[in-house]
Amino acid sequence: MEEEKKDKFLAPENEIRQVAAPDGSIIEVNPLEDYFTQDRPKPYKVRKGPVEDFLNWARAESLWVLGFGTGCGSIEIPPLVTPRFDMFRFGIQMRATPRQSNVFVISGYLSVKTLKRAIRAYEQMPSPKYIVGLGSCTINGGMYYDSYNTINRLDHYLPVDAYIAGCMPRPEALLHGFEGLKKIIKAGKGHKANEYIENLDWYKANQKKIIKDWNMPDYNW
């Protein structure tokens, strides 16, 4: 039964297939196992002391936000880079790729389809990484509490450092939320990424409960 279900949603490029090697021999390729590492991530060591305090200060003062507008809250993110709000003043910048960003702003509701992409993007970010849940929808489902396609509680799927309430939060609220995140990081508490890795099984079980077509490796390095 489990096998059948898996096959139903497997993307064609991830199917097990025969490939001709350069020397002419035929080899079997299972993309999910051969092309992706199956390694589990390990939690990093959290240090203490003045050096770490300085590094935490640097992490807080240089927040690179992933440019991924997941929901309707993303309409209030572009104003942050324009004259009225100008978040560059506070060392907050937008990055286009998850590899170079540390902050993931989940801007509003997450549909199941987007949650899958959000998990992939989050897992690719280098730690320490932070998630800011924007809007009521990430807290308890908000407006869409009874929708079959949007998640209710973000913290069951991804570790959230800070929530910004409102529907939708104003850009000022976002800036305030970033200030709050900075305080958390400077106090040395911004290690939710470790929590995610320590409780990976719980998170993965929750994620797999709603993402029925899990055609990706367990941890997207």
């Binding site: 997941t70 324009t82 004259p83 549909s111 396609n149």
Partner: protein, 397 residues
């Protein structure tokens, strides 16, 4: 017309993949000639949360497929579980860029089926809020078109004025993005004291803004060289593909609900939508620029012609017990992207039976975008999407 020559339909296609019966190229990905890349959903060049599955050969796109559904919240299902008054806060979130049109189409549908006559003052105020919403969208969109070519300066200037317009919205309605000003039966409030003078003061900034972006964007050599001839839409496609609004007016077909089916008090205003025949990205940007000027003019006319006082809301039944007899209607208005309609069915109960929203992006972003992107350069995808003003939440709702 000579400028459109850059785009020719019958060039030599011998180097390109063959087409199958549906007109889709037959692409063999194992031939090492093609690469499949995804633009989106996490991609700064994609308008909103959607993605394009592109098969490219070099920098050229040979096949494109739009993927939507990342923003699906099942509005139409949720509205079936809401009272008519509860529909309002939910429905305005259908399209976040221009929520006022949602307010209007659903209020209008409810009024039409519930036989409610909207007072005149309320109609003028509705028109004001719709035009202000269009204004704030166009202030982002016109310079945003250059932003897709990495000329972000105009966008910054435009956003500054847009924030001022949003301030006016806050004065009028209390909300910055979601206003819920238009409600079934009328509107929520009169103009605050001194609102007119302050708004007119802000409109003067736009008069100064237009010559600035003319210099920066429309007379810019690089912008012209990239936008001219890009994503040419022939006139014949307008009906076939269901193209609305600025995109159709860029191709020489005047489609504007405000003119064809005048709603509210649009028949008392003096305006003529701008039409050009070139059909490329530059033409569509020009149309939006003309729309911006026209919207400013319309707001001035509205402020001028509107009565000082009057009823702002018709009497409606108690909203908690409001039942509407069985019926169906299609209520539509002109949004900044084109005709924006809502098919509304009631069955005599306190909740709608079925709501179906039809935004122009549904047709723009699916069949049309797939078609326009073929043979385009991947560098131009963002520009083509923005020129069609695709708004994914109105596709999947």
């Amino acid at each position: 017309m000579a400028k459109s020559k850059l785009f020719t339909m019958n060039e030599d296609r011998s180097l390109y993949p063959e087409l199958d019966v549906n007109g889709k190229p037959i692409v063999d990905l194992t031939s090492h000639k093609y690469v499949k890349i995804w633009q989106g959903p996490q991609h700064p060049g994609v308008t909103g949360n959607m993605s394009l599955e592109l098969t490219i050969s070099g920098d050229e796109i040979v096949e494109s497929k739009t993927h939507v559904g990342y923003l699906h919240r099942a509005f139409e299902k949720l509205l079936e579980r809401r009272l008519f008054v509860q529909c309002m806060p939910t429905s305005i979130r259908l399209c976040v860029a221009e929520p006022d049109t949602n307010e209007y189409v659903i209020s209008n549908a409810i009024e039409e089926l519930g036989n409610i006559e909207v007072p005149e003052m309320a109609q003028w105020l509705r028109m004001l809020s719709l035009e202000m919403a269009r204004l704030q969208v166009l202030l982002r969109q016109v310079p945003g078109q250059a932003g897709t070519f990495a000329l972000g300066l105009g966008y910054q200037w435009g956003s500054y004025i847009r924030d001022l317009i949003l301030d006016s919205f806050e004065e009028l309605t209390g909300g910055r993005v979601y206003h819920m000003y238009i409600i079934p039966g009328g509107v929520r409030g009169l103009l605050p004291d001194g609102f007119k003078a302050r708004l007119l003061e802000k409109l003067k900034l736009i008069d100064e803004f237009i010559p600035k972006i003319d210099k920066l964007i429309f007379n810019n050599v690089v912008f012209e060289s990239r936008a001219r001839g890009l994503a040419y839409i022939p006139k014949e496609w307008v009906d076939e593909y269901g193209i609305y609004g600025p995109a159709s007016r860029g191709s020489g077909v005047s489609r504007d609900v405000r003119k064809t089916n005048p709603y509210l008090k649009y028949d008392q205003l003096d305006f003529e939508p701008f039409v050009t025949t070139e059909g490329d990205v530059y033409a569509r940007t020009e149309v939006r620029r003309a729309d911006l000027i026209m919207t400013v003019d319309l707001i001035r006319q509205i402020l001028d012609k509107m009565p000082e006082k009057g009823d702002i809301k018709a009497e409606t039944p108690n909203v908690l017990h409001w039942k509407i007899p069985k019926g169906e209607t299609y209520s539509k208005c002109e949004s900044s992207r084109g005709e924006y309609g809502m098919y509304f069915v009631t069955d005599g109960s306190a909740m709608p039976r079925r709501v179906n929203l039809k935004g122009p992006s549904y047709t723009h972003a699916n069949a049309l975008l797939d078609k326009l992107l073929i043979n385009a350069n991947i560098a131009d995808t963002a520009a083509i999407m923005v020129s069609l003003a695709t708004c994914p939440p109105e596709i999947e709702r």
